[in-house]
Structures are given as C-alpha cells and as structure tokens.
C-alpha cells in the first residue's frame, strides 16, 4: 500500500499535458513552458535548425563558429555589454553548434526572464560579428582543437565516428579541423547567419518560477516579430552504409599514459520503435550498477580500467552504440578481446530476465531525480518536441519501459551489434 501511494505521488510530479503549455508563436516558433515555484529561478533552452549539416566541407565548423560568434556583439550591445547585462544580473546564456541544430541554454532569477529573452532575441536577430572579436574567438577555437587532438577520449570518439559513419555527415566533427576553421571568414559567418537563422523550426522551452501564460506573453512580445522568409529547409540525411567487416583504426598521440578505446556500431534512431528495447539492453550491457556486464568484466573482474561502460547515443539520425574504456597502453588488446566477447554474448543470447527487470526498475525509479531540476525538465520538454513523444510521455513512460521483453532486447541486439562487423577505435601512445 505504501508503494502504491508513493508511486501515485511521484507520477503527479511528472510533467504532463495538465501542466505543460505547448503553443506556436505567431511567427512559427514552438514554445513549451512549465511552472515550478520551488526555487526563484528560471531555465530556458532550445534549438534552431542551423547545424553543421549546412557546412561546406572546406569550411567545416562554420555552423558552430557562427553560433558561438552570435554572442560577440550585436547592433545595440558590444561583447562586454552582452556579458555585463548577464553577469551583473547573475544570469547566464550560451549557444553552440551541433550537427543538426544550434542549441542554446540560459538561466536567471525569475524576475530577469524578460532580460534573458531580450538578450536571446538580440543575439539571434542582430549579431554584427565584429572583426576583432571573430579573431579572438578563432584563436580560442583553434586552441580547443589543439587540446582535442591531445585528448585520448575525444580522439577515440572521433576516430570511431569516422569508421562507423564513413561517407555520412555524422563522420565529421561539428567543430571542424584547424585548417577549415582557419578558412572561415567574418563574411562567411554573417552570410550563414543571414541565410539560416530564422523562426522556422526554432523550439524554446521555459521552466521555472513564472506562470506559463506570462512566459508565453513575454516570448511572443520579444521573439514573435522575427522573420526570415529565405530560411532553407534542412538537408536530407543520406542513407548510412553499414560496416561490411570489423574495422580497426588507431590515432597515435605520443607521450600519453593511457589509451582510450571505443568499440561498437551504429544504433537506432531515437524515434525508432525498437529504441526502448535497445536502451534497456544497453543498460544491462554497460550501464546498470557499476557499468553493467562491461564494467563487471573489464573493471571489477580484470582490474583493467577505472572506467568501462557502454552507451547508446540516439538522435534524429542513426545513433552510435559504443563501449568506451580507458586502459594502460599495454592492456589495449586484452581489453578489446574482453569487450568483443561481451558484445558477442549479448548479441547471441541477449540478457537474462532478472537483468531486464533490474534495468526496468532502475529506469522507472530514477525518473523523479532526472526531472527534479528546472534544467532537467527543460531537457525533457525539448526531447518531447524533437522526437514527437507526446506531452504525456513521462507519465506513460513506466508502461513503455515495462512493455519491453527479453525477446525484443535480443532482436534489437542482433539487429545492431554484429560481433563480426564492429568499429574499433584506439587513441593513445
């Protein structure tokens, strides 16, 4: 009885149609809002369809550079003025480029929501890309790329993407390469902004100590007048060619004490019907407890690594299903063998009934914690919109999790993880 009462009270605190407001502003921007008066703050988040998919190959990194440069000066605010308005009010706002979208996030005390929205509108509508600021930012981006080239985890991940997504835009890093970032001019940034940025496809979520009606009024007043009739539609993704055989590649980074390994394959789309089966299977493979079966084999039994886990990164297009571990360079082969053995066992036999039950219970039990903060709810609302999950998704979620069977997990594992057709990436000395 106690559990029943608790379950009900948990469900009432989950976002749903009765407390999420979902509207379209007069210019087409999608707005989601949910009130939370437990803390006097608000969080905003959202995205625009201005990602790296639009980058010309010789200027890879253009979308990311443009998004970051939006905050370097507008017609009415200098770089210093933008940040003085934010920091003097203890607020924050940032925007950066991804593969499909440019994503933004911001936070402020509740009374400063109009200020935050005004700043967001200012950088989106009227950026001026001052030449000196563009060069400052370029030096920062190039330093970031130099640091990336030395980061064994980043380079293993990048190398993994190059194998799994060969010939597909997902093989390319959205922050580009040093030579492509060097090739981008100030005018390229201004042109990219003028062409791509507009209200069509923009999504905004507002969560915190504000009545949803008021949030909508403020958003309409500040963002509703933005227009860009020339905004192009995002390009179609080409089909992904699956790997024909296991492919291995190493990126050498001399002088490092540890090597990073990434092993796996492509995974389902977030919208795919088998996504939940894949996700629960992945939990048993390399998440549950201290890293599922992978953590048990690589860390607990063999003592090879401080971290070893698997993840399923599903999005708009094909995802990545990948096992990561950081090991001493002399243990790379041993670790790869162990991981492949686990993947083979998983793809051939699936998971045990108790493993499925454990992960199902974990998924349902952790929901209130993931939705505790305003930032967590913003993330949930954006997922609802991006993947058409429905406003009642988090209330239906326990049922969706419970409906997954062992057979469905096995079928999904077989579909995506072929132990004879894996990508194996290593970065290290």
């Amino acid at each position: 009885m106690k559990n029943k009462v608790s379950e009900n009270s948990s469900l009432h605190s989950l976002p749903g149609p009765e407390d999420i407001t979902h509207v379209t502003l007069s210019n087409g921007i999608t707005l989601l809002a949910r009130s939370n008066f437990n803390s006097p703050s608000i969080v905003i988040g959202g995205h625009l369809p201005c990602g790296a998919l639009f980058d010309p190959p010789e200027k890879l990194g253009l979308a990311d550079f443009t998004a970051l440069a939006l905050m370097r000066g507008t017609q009415k605010r200098s770089f210093q003025k933008i940040y003085d308005d934010l920091e003097s009010n203890a607020a924050s706002l940032s925007i950066g480029g991804g593969t499909h979208t440019a994503g933004f996030t911001g936070r402020a005390l509740a009374e400063d929501l109009p200020l935050l929205l005004d700043l967001l509108a200012d950088i989106l509508f009227h950026p001026v890309f001052p030449a000196d600021e563009v060069e400052r930012l370029r030096a920062q981006l190039l330093t970031g790329l130099a640091i990336r080239a030395q980061d064994t985890a980043d380079m293993a991940s990048l190398t993994f993407d190059q194998i799994v997504f060969e010939g597909h835009p997902y093989a390319l890093p959205e922050d580009g390469w040093p030579e492509t970032v060097q090739a981008i001019t100030r005018d390229d940034l201004a042109a990219f902004h003028a062409r791509q940025y507009g209200p069509s496809g923009m999504v905004l979520a507002i969560v915190g100590a504000v009545e949803s009606k008021k949030a909508i009024e403020q958003a309409e007043k500040i963002l509703g007048r933005w227009k860009n009739p020339q905004q192009p539609r995002p390009p179609e993704l080409p089909p992904l060619q699956p790997l024909r055989k296991t492919t291995r590649r190493k990126t050498v980074i001399p002088g490092k004490a540890q090597s990073d390994i990434a092993i796996g394959s492509s995974g389902p789309l977030r919208k795919a019907p088998e996504y939940m089966s894949a996700s629960l299977g992945n939990s048993a493979l390399g998440q549950f407890g201290l890293g599922g079966r992978i953590g048990e084999t690589v860390r607990e039994k063999s003592g090879l690594a401080y971290f070893a886990y698997s993840s399923l990164n599903a999005g708009v297009g094909p995802g990545a299903w990948v096992v990561n571990a950081g090991v001493n360079p002399k243990n790379v082969e041993k670790t790869i063998d162990l991981v492949i053995k686990e993947i083979r066992h998983f793809a051939e036999k699936g998971i045990e009934a108790n493993e499925l039950a454990d992960s199902q219970s974990n998924y349902i039990g952790r929901l209130p914690l993931s939705l505790e903060s305003n930032a967590g709810v913003v993330n949930a609302l954006l997922n609802i919109e991006r993947y058409d999950l429905g406003l009642d998704y988090y209330q239906r979620y326990p049922g969706l999790v419970q409906a997954v069977t062992r057979e469905a997990v096995l079928e999904t594992a077989r579909q995506y993880l072929d132990p004879e057709k894996l990508a194996i990436a290593v970065a290290g000395p």
Partner: protein, 428 residues
C-alpha cells in the same frame, strides 16, 4: 537557505543533520568521515581514496554485486568522493527507498570485507585512474605546484596518491586505515528531502546507535612554515598548448580572511560556483583577469579557484596561454592586475555585484535536493553547517578595505608558486 534543520549527536558521537524538503519525492543521504589525503604519511599516499573504492566491494550483509544492484534497481544515484580533508558517500533515492541507503551506510561503517583479491584488482583500477589523470596537462602541472607549495604539510600530495605507494600498499595498510577512521565519532550523517524528522531520527537511532565509538587517531598536524620567496617551476609534456598557473598560499575556510578573499576572487576571476550538483554557471567574461588577459589576446581562458579547506591551502589562478603568445607575457599582464587590486580599493558596487551573483548561485543550487544535502554535511568537514547558513551574510559584510588588505596579505609574489606547462610539440 532557511534554518529549518535539526542537529543531534548520538551517544556514540555520530553527528546527525536532517533537513526536510518536500518539493520532490526524493531523499539524499550523505555519510561523511573526517579523513582524507591530509591524513596520509609518506608511503601511504592515496590510502584514503583506495579505502573509499574498497567500500564498494561489499560486506557480509551486502556482497559487492548485491550492493550496487540494489541501489540501481530502486532508481538511486550513488557515489563517493575523497578529498584532502574528508571522504564522503552519498545516495539519492526515491523517498520510500531510502532505508536501503541507511542500512548500507550503517553496515559499511564497520563491516566491509577488504577481500585480498578485491584489493589486488582495485590496485590496478586505481593505477589506471591515475594514468587517466596523467593524460591531462593541468593535472601534471597542478601536482607539481602542490608539491612545491607544501614541503611539510600533507596537502603536498594529490588525493589519488603517488604511484610508488599505490604499487606498494597492502591490504593491511588499507584495513588499518579503514578501522581507525571509520567510527561514528569521526563521522557525520546528513539527510535532506521528503521525510518526517521524528520518524527519520528514530530509524537512524535503530541503525547507527549500536555501533560502538572508536578511538579516532589525531589528525596529522604539520603546519607549513611561512613561504620565504617565490618558487617557479616548469612541467614539460605532450601537446601544443601552454598553461600558466599561479598558486598563492590562502587562508583556511574558517579564517575570517576567507570571505574578503572570496570577494576578491569573484572580482578577479568571476563568481565561483559552490554547487556541486546542478545550478550556477555564471560566466566570467567581465572579470578583471578575463579583460586583462583574454580580451587583450594574451590568453584564451583565465579562471581561479579558492577552496574551502580545514587548513590553509592555495588560491590558484589558471591561464591557457594564447597560441601566439609567450607565458611570460601572460604572467606580466596577470601581475599588473594583481598589482592593481593590491594598490587600488575596489568599489562598493563591485562587491555588491559579487554578492548578488553568490545569492543567485544559492537560489540555483536550491533546486537540487542532493546539493542541499551535500552542503548540510560538507560544511561540517571544515567548519560547521552554520558556516554555510551565514555565508551570504558574511560576504555582504565585506568592505573595500578588507578586500585590499586580503590582496596585500595573500597576493604577494613571496607567497606563491608559479608553474608553466610547456608543450613538447610547440614550446614557445
């Protein structure tokens, strides 16, 4: 933060702090021990952190695999951290499942097995953790700086420990450390969340009161002598990027000077985020160091950290040098800003702005029950919870004169170590 919490000390010395928060059906429980890398003599560096790892390896009642699965099955989040002054274990669980966390912490306060084979396998895991750290230039630089800054005080080594000790320590060393320091009179149990205080207290008494008090060893007391001049060092390693770090001897968290120095840090390098979980993230692009170093293209980033510690530690400024500049040019600009804040009084308005930022960070941090429970116990490790409750008031009382005095007292060249990471691939 409001003062609606309960404090009690059980007969065996265990201090309990409870705070009811009914905004979400969650409870966060933290068990803190007054032991960390500060308590480690040469030869046993890293023992506190290794013991923390062993605490996940099971007891008779909760064998290793049962333990982590039980918490995960209930949708809990759990982890542990070892630091210079303390070690802590937390579980954030759905409110009706918290009993598992309480039973687990009561049990592993005394009954962890420290199985010989588990010790052996965890040795290589921890060496692997250290090797992962060694991949990072800023770890290598920070380790060298800390060692140069503390010749006598045990803050001289990293929490992870030295490789030589990680290779040599035995199960006996680990178990002795565990049984010496993991006693109720050396611990604090702090819970925040969706519970009723009276009922929670009754349950805690049932589980924890039977644990006998121990004889807590005195903490290593080896105060660092006064610095007698600036130290400079270089670390060389792979990469293309040059880093510069200046570490000044700083006061302990309980020293009244800590608060003027906190304001000073905020003006120099931007507001620091006290929230371990969620919240915060105010940028530092209008800070003095950002303007002097990044806007003037001598660096691509600049930041600083002032850490609340039991004994005097370091105020550390870290600069990523611009790829076209030399570290000496960045240091010169940094020194000009230090000189300015030592010479010219800051304005009241600047202080008011820093206080407003700190207030907002507190509001952001209050969204997370885990963060609130963290502070309930954390402040006890170097002061008392009252330190946290009065933090904003103490900041608000800081005057321009106090900021200048703190700058003059602490930000002296004689009081610092300056380190440079020189990349082998593209040294300037």
């Amino acid at each position: 933060m409001t003062k609606n919490h309960t404090e009690i000390i059980l007969p065996n010395g265990l201090k309990i702090l409870l705070k009811e928060i009914h905004t979400a059906p969650l409870i966060s429980s933290w068990a803190w021990y007054r032991v960390g890398s500060k308590d480690e003599p040469t030869g046993r560096t890293g023992v506190s952190h290794w013991v923390e790892h062993m605490q996940f390896k099971g007891t008779e009642q909760f064998p290793a695999k049962v333990l982590d699965k039980a918490i995960s099955r209930d949708g809990g989040q759990w982890n542990a951290f070892t630091y210079m002054d303390w070690t802590t274990y937390f579980e954030t669980m759905p409110a009706d499942k918290i009993d598992l966390a309480l039973r687990l912490e009561a049990d592993r306060m005394t009954a962890s097995l420290f199985d010989e084979q588990e010790v052996a396998s965890e040795r290589t895991v921890i060496i692997s953790e250290r090797e992962g750290n060694e991949n990072e230039p800023l770890f290598l630089l920070g380790e060298a700086l800390q060692h140069a800054a503390f010749r006598v005080h045990p803050y001289h080594h990293e929490v992870i420990g030295d490789l030589a000790d990680l290779q040599a320590m035995t199960r006996t060393d680990l178990y002795h450390h565990y049984r010496s320091y993991y006693v109720p009179d050396n611990a604090v149990l702090a819970l925040a969340g969706d519970f009723e205080t009276g009922a929670m207290l009754r349950r805690i008494r049932v589980l924890f009161e039977p644990i006998p008090a121990g004889e807590v060893p005195p903490r290593l007391a080896r105060p660092e002598p006064e610095a007698r001049g600036e130290h400079r060092l270089t670390v060389e390693g792979p990469g293309e990027t040059t880093y510069l770090q200046a570490a000044y001897r700083a006061p302990a968290a309980n020293d009244p000077d800590f608060f003027p120095l906190t304001v000073l840090d905020s003006l120099l390098a931007g507001p620091s985020n006290l929230n371990m979980f969620g919240g915060g993230g105010i940028s530092n692009k209008t800070s003095r160091l950002y303007c002097a170093l990044v806007d003037r293209e001598l660096a691509v980033s600049a930041g600083a950290s002032l850490i609340s510690t039991l004994d005097p530690f370091l105020y550390s400024i870290v600069v990523t040098v611009h790829p076209q500049r030399k570290p000496d040019e960045a240091l010169e600009a940094l020194d000009a800003e230090i000189h300015r804040i030592r010479k010219e009084r800051v304005s009241k308005e600047e202080i008011a702005r820093a206080v407003k930022q700190a207030r907002a960070n507190f509001a952001y941090g209050s969204e997370s029950i885990t963060n609130q429970a963290f502070w309930l116990g954390h402040a006890e490790m170097f002061a008392t919870y009252d330190w946290f409750l009065t933090y904003l008031d103490k900041l608000a009382k800081v005057t321009p004169a106090q900021v200048q005095e703190a700058a003059q007292k602490y930000l002296r060249p004689q009081n610092r170590v300056v380190g440079t990471y020189l990349p082998a691939g593209g040294a300037k």
